[in-house]
């Protein structure tokens, strides 16, 4: 396996030969540094996603093919990343973070405007790239890399440094404006700090500070963002305007009942009452066509992935690996919760896609890259380390 040797050569420390000469045969999964359970669950999830997508895209086989191609690319990215050893991520975290911040600045200065916000960086004819996506991984890596140097639980000085590390990309993303992504970047990085053992007093203090900051945040929000919050609080106030999305998505889910209306039979979805039905609101299509049963099956699938991820994180052998793995898998769950919460009307509409089900390439690549890191951390445990 050339990848294996490449990865091994990149390790920061030499591999010790197996003790007592008992050669433990490595399984094929260990050789390619992938976790079969996690991979299997992800493939099932992506497969289910494609089935829902076919219905949600108005039965467009083109959309399914396009999504499959993206999944393949994302899987390749995941496999490649899994071959690098965790120490590589540790070393390259500051570089990735630096490049990410630079690109965010570039986007804010001369980014491409789409959907009323500057989010894209375009090299004409080559690539359209959303630097904030990259930040979702780079920020927690950077925080974990920093905390890896410190004694844990972190002292106040370290926490302030982490605050700066987190604050810069979050603010840069928020002013694009892309509130949803900036909150996700923030939460991904904050989880690292929390897992590292942020003291409960500080957590309480920061929570209080955050509560006090709500009015300040409100003052600085764009009108459309405020509108979203207001609509969330009372969707019926503007049923044909900004309340439309939530009313139609809850109607779709609610009308699905226990067993749903059947695949391709959802009237809310198929008759286009449901907005953004193949992207952010795709879960409503599932809810309408497969009912509560379908929703719970999907939720269970996500929980299984999260369980496996958390187990892998706790099995990691060093602090950096644990923090990064924990952050990646918990952020994944946050995506799921925010998306499902928003579509079912318990959270405001913030534009977070449903991981590996919503139509879209960038987020799939980011997610699977994250799982690649997770697998790398898991697969590169030093054998018989005790």
């Amino acid at each position: 396996m050339p990848w294996h040797y490449l990865a091994r050569s990149m390790r920061g420390y030499p591999v010790r030969p197996p003790e007592s000469g008992i050669a433990r045969r490595k399984s094929i999964w260990e050789r390619i540094h992938l976790d079969p359970w996690l991979l299997g669950l992800l493939l099932v999830l992506m497969g289910s996603g494609l089935i829902v997508l076919y219905s949600a895209s108005g039965q467009s086989i083109d959309a399914v093919i396009a999504q499959s191609v993206r999944f393949c690319i994302a899987l390749v990215v995941m496999v490649i990343i899994a071959q690098f050893s965790p120490s590589t991520f540790l070393r390259f975290a500051p570089l990735a973070y630096g490049i990410g911040v630079a690109m965010l600045v570039a986007v804010d200065v001369f980014g491409d405007v789409g959907m009323g916000a500057k989010r894209w960086l375009v090299i004409p004819g080559v690539i359209r790239f959303q630097p904030s996506e990259m930040m979702k991984l780079a920020a927690p890596l950077m925080v974990a890399a920093y905390l890896n140097r410190c004694e844990l639980p972190p002292r106040l000085r370290d926490i302030l440094v982490c605050g700066v590390i987190i604050g810069v990309p979050v603010v840069l993303t928020a002013i694009q404006p892309d509130l949803g992504t900036s909150l996700l970047v923030a939460s991904a990085a904050l989880i690292v700090v929390l897992l590292a053992g942020l003291s409960w007093r500080l957590i309480g203090f920061i929570t209080a500070l955050g509560a006090a900051g709500v009015p300040v945040l409100w003052m600085n929000m764009h009108n459309y963002q405020r509108q979203r919050v207001l609509t969330f609080l009372n969707p019926e106030s503007d049923p044909l305007g900004s309340g439309w999305n939530i009313i139609q998505s809850t109607t779709a889910i609610g009308s699905g009942g226990l067993w749903g209306k059947g695949w391709l039979q959802g009237t809310q979805s198929q008759l286009e009452f449901l907005p953004e039905r193949h992207t952010d609101f795709i879960i409503a299509v599932l809810g309408e066509e497969f009912g509560l049963v379908g929703m719970l099956v999907l939720l269970c699938l996500y929980l299984l992935i999260v369980s496996r991820g958390v187990w892998m994180a706790s099995a990691a052998q060093d602090t950096f690996g644990r923090l990064v793995a924990g952050s990646i898998i918990l952020t994944f769950f946050i995506y799921v919760f925010v998306n499902m919460g928003m579509v079912s009307g318990i959270l405001p509409v913030v534009g977070v896609p449903l991981p590996l089900v919503s139509f879209g390439g960038t987020s799939s690549v980011t997610l699977l890259a994250g799982f690649g890191i997770l697998m790398s951390i898991h697969a590169h445990r030093r054998l018989l380390s005790r």
Binding site: L90, R91, P94, A145, Y146, N148, R149, C150, E151, L152, P153, I191, L194, L195, A196, G197, L240, Q248, T250, T251, A252, I253, G254, S255, G256, G257, L258, T267, Q268, L271, E272, F273, G287, E288, G291, L292, M295, L296, L299, L303, V306, S307, V310, A313, S314, D318, T319, F320, R322, L323, G326, L330, F333, F337, M340, G341, S344, G345, I346
Partner: protein, 635 residues
């Protein structure tokens, strides 16, 4: 690059912290998952029924299918009112993103004239049931349709709707009799059955269109359609077809109606013709007419003002609402009243010195011929239109009997079955005068009534109807405009028909007819010039109504003033005497040239009806009229 990890770090403690935190995280994850599950159970199980209904209401739309309005034909099957396919512009406000922008764009695309924009805006904001299309403009041109089609994507909620639009091929001639349809206005919308009129934009406003609105309208149908979020219909889930309105066949004869219109020649006046045996109104014209088609699509303000302010009152239906003193035309009816009440016999006579005096009164009520007609019997009284005879008769009858007998002929009341907006005009009586002026009735007033003056007012329709009853030997058949509704004939006997008029001796009818024949064919008849070359026996009676004053708010120049102060010419006629086929009343306002003007028109009408192959030449009639004008004679 960061420094190597601090080897002195307490790995055990870090691992312990991590495990505690990870456990807490898992608990949070489970809590949030439970929260989501709870929410989903709430939506999909608890509130399922509510959301099911909501989703069904989203998808299914009930669309009304307006029925086709019934067509209107004349008695010979000539089409008088049809439905032309046209294109309307409608707007569903709920589906419009920005009403102001949409309207501005529409005004630009349709190239609406400045003065129509306001009405257009008002219509778009008119109160509507939710998701009901509001009619913005009707009768779009090809160009307008093309421009709208190209810009369709910019105009959500705006639809071009094919709709049959009412069209009257002979609008000017038929306007008053047929009436017209117009847009349903706000007041009408409140009283109409919303279900029946869903999708219907027009309603009969006047005339036949209004009277038979119920029958002409038909029953609305429905279709349930599945629509997408943009309101586009995807498929039909079910439908009930509309029931089209009944076609109406009228009693009017279009060619006779047209002749009457041409005979009146743009003057102010009215001609009504009735078939006595059946009560069928053959012609009912009021001139000047107007183009009723303008009212269908909504007349523009300037044209409407023009019609409103026209001193000739083209919108006024003289035939059914015009009040005229009947003048001498009522003399045959008075003679009949005298016969019924036994005040006269056909052979009783008076001596006419040229005037009549009430007992103990020095005032002389004059005959039109100053020196009198000498000995006058009933027939001669009609032929020469002697006033003294009728002063005597009226005095002998008294106002009470006179009122009773004239009421039997339909004066002072609505006579027709299905004429919208008919006026009852006025048949004076003691009670009426006390109620109106709080004054007693004076004997002199009876004398005025006796020659069709004073308070007495009739409509041309009443006059024609009374003439038809007279020609029918007192047998009342209610005048009607509808012959068949769908395939159902309107019955001869209709409710609320007046009682027949009975004479002691049936031969007396012939004596009255004879007197009326002498009006036209007798040597001293007042309309004897009209009788020249008559090919059948015709009875008639002339009349002149004096114009006393003009409306105060009307301004005329000197020439016009003189013209409008001239007498109205009236004539009633029926023919042939032995078996009357047509009874006519003619009123020409300010004809001036004496009653013969109207008599010529009446003759032309009977000629046209009785001599089917020899339709009278309107030009010839006009020449005769001009000759007569040069040669004025009293009535």
């Amino acid at each position: 690059m960061l420094k190597r990890p601090n080897t002195l770090k307490n790995s055990e403690q870090e691992l312990r912290i991590f495990r505690v935190r990870a456990l807490l995280a898992v608990l949070v994850v489970l809590t949030l998952a439970c929260l989501l599950t709870g929410r989903l159970i709430y939506l999909q199980i608890v509130q399922h029924d509510m959301y099911s209904t909501r989703s069904e209401n989203n998808r299914v739309r009930v669309e009304p299918l307006p029925p086709n309005r019934g067509l209107i034909y004349d008695r010979n099957g000539v089409l008088l009112a049809e439905n032309r396919p046209t294109y309307n512009l409608t707007l569903v406000r709920e589906r419009v993103d920005n009403l102001d922008e949409t309207l501005a764009l529409l005004v630009e695309l349709l190239e609406l004239p400045e003065e129509e924009i306001e009405a257009f805006n008002v219509r778009s904001r008119q109160r509507q049931r939710p998701f009901q299309p509001a009619l913005l403009t009707s009768d779009l041109s090809e160009d307008q349709i093309a421009r709208l089609a190209v810009n369709r994507h910019r105009l959500p909620g705006v639809e071009i709707e094919a709709q049959p639009l009412r069209f009257y091929p002979d609008a000017e001639i038929m306007a008053h009799a047929l009436g017209y349809v117009g847009r349903i206005n706000v007041e009408e919308m409140e009283t109409l059955d919303a279900g029946r009129y869903a999708g219907t934009h027009f309603i009969g406003k006047t005339g036949i269109e209004r009277f038979y609105e119920e029958e002409l309208h038909g029953e609305a149908g429905l279709r349930k359609v599945e629509t997408n979020a943009r309101g586009r219909v995807l498929r039909e889930l079910g439908r009930t077809d509309p029931v089209p309105g009944e076609n109406l066949t009228l009693t009017l004869d279009k060619s006779l109606q047209m002749l009457a219109y041409e005979l009146l020649d743009g003057r102010r006046g009215s001609i009504v013709a009735i078939a006595p045996a059946t009560g069928e109104i053959l012609a009912m014209v009021s001139t000047p007419g107007f183009d009723s088609n303008q009212f269908v699509t909504g007349i523009d303000v300037a044209s409407y003002r023009g019609l409103q302010e026209d001193l000739d009152l083209p919108l006024f239906n003289r035939a059914t609402r015009g009040h005229y003193p009947p003048g001498s035309t009522i003399k045959p009816f008075l003679a009949l009243a005298g016969l019924v009440e036994g005040v006269i016999t056909p052979d009783s006579t008076i001596n006419d010195p040229g005037y009549y005096q009430l007992p103990n009164d020095s005032r002389r009520y004059r005959n039109w011929l100053r020196w009198g007609h000498g000995r006058v019997d009933m027939e001669r009284s009609l032929a020469v239109s002697n006033n003294t005879y009728y002063y005597t008769l009226a005095h002998d009858l008294g106002i009470d009997n006179l009122h009773k007998q004239m009421s039997n002929f339909g004066f002072g009341q609505r006579v027709a079955h299905d004429v919208q907006g008919e006026s009852g005009a006025l048949m004076p009586s003691r009670d009426w005068k006390r109620g109106r002026f709080n004054q007693p009735w004076y004997p002199g007033e009876t004398l005025s009534v006796g020659i069709g003056q004073g308070y007495w007012q009739v409509t041309p329709l009443q006059l024609a109807s009374a003439t038809a009853t007279l020609a029918n030997r007192g047998h009342w058949v209610k005048p009607r405009l509808a012959r068949r509704i769908g395939d159902t004939p309107v019955p001869l006997d209709l409710p609320d028909t007046l009682d027949d008029i009975q004479l002691a001796n049936d031969n007396w009818w012939n004596r009255v007819f004879s007197g009326m024949e002498k009006v036209i064919s007798g040597t001293e008849g007042t309309a004897r010039r009209t009788g020249v070359g008559l090919e059948y026996r015709m009875g008639g009676k002339s009349g002149t109504a004096q114009v006393f004053s003009l409306g105060q708010d009307q301004r005329y120049n000197a020439d016009e003033l003189a013209e409008r102060l001239r007498d109205h010419a009236l004539f009633i006629a029926f023919a042939p005497i032995e078996n009357p086929k047509i009874a006519v009343s003619v009123i020409v306002e300010n004809a001036g040239g004496g009653s013969t003007h109207a008599a010529h028109l009446a003759r032309a009408m009977t000629d046209a009806w009785l001599l089917e192959d020899e339709a009278p030449d309107v030009e010839e009639v006009r020449e005769v009229l001009e000759e007569d004008n040069a040669n004025v004679e009293g009535n």
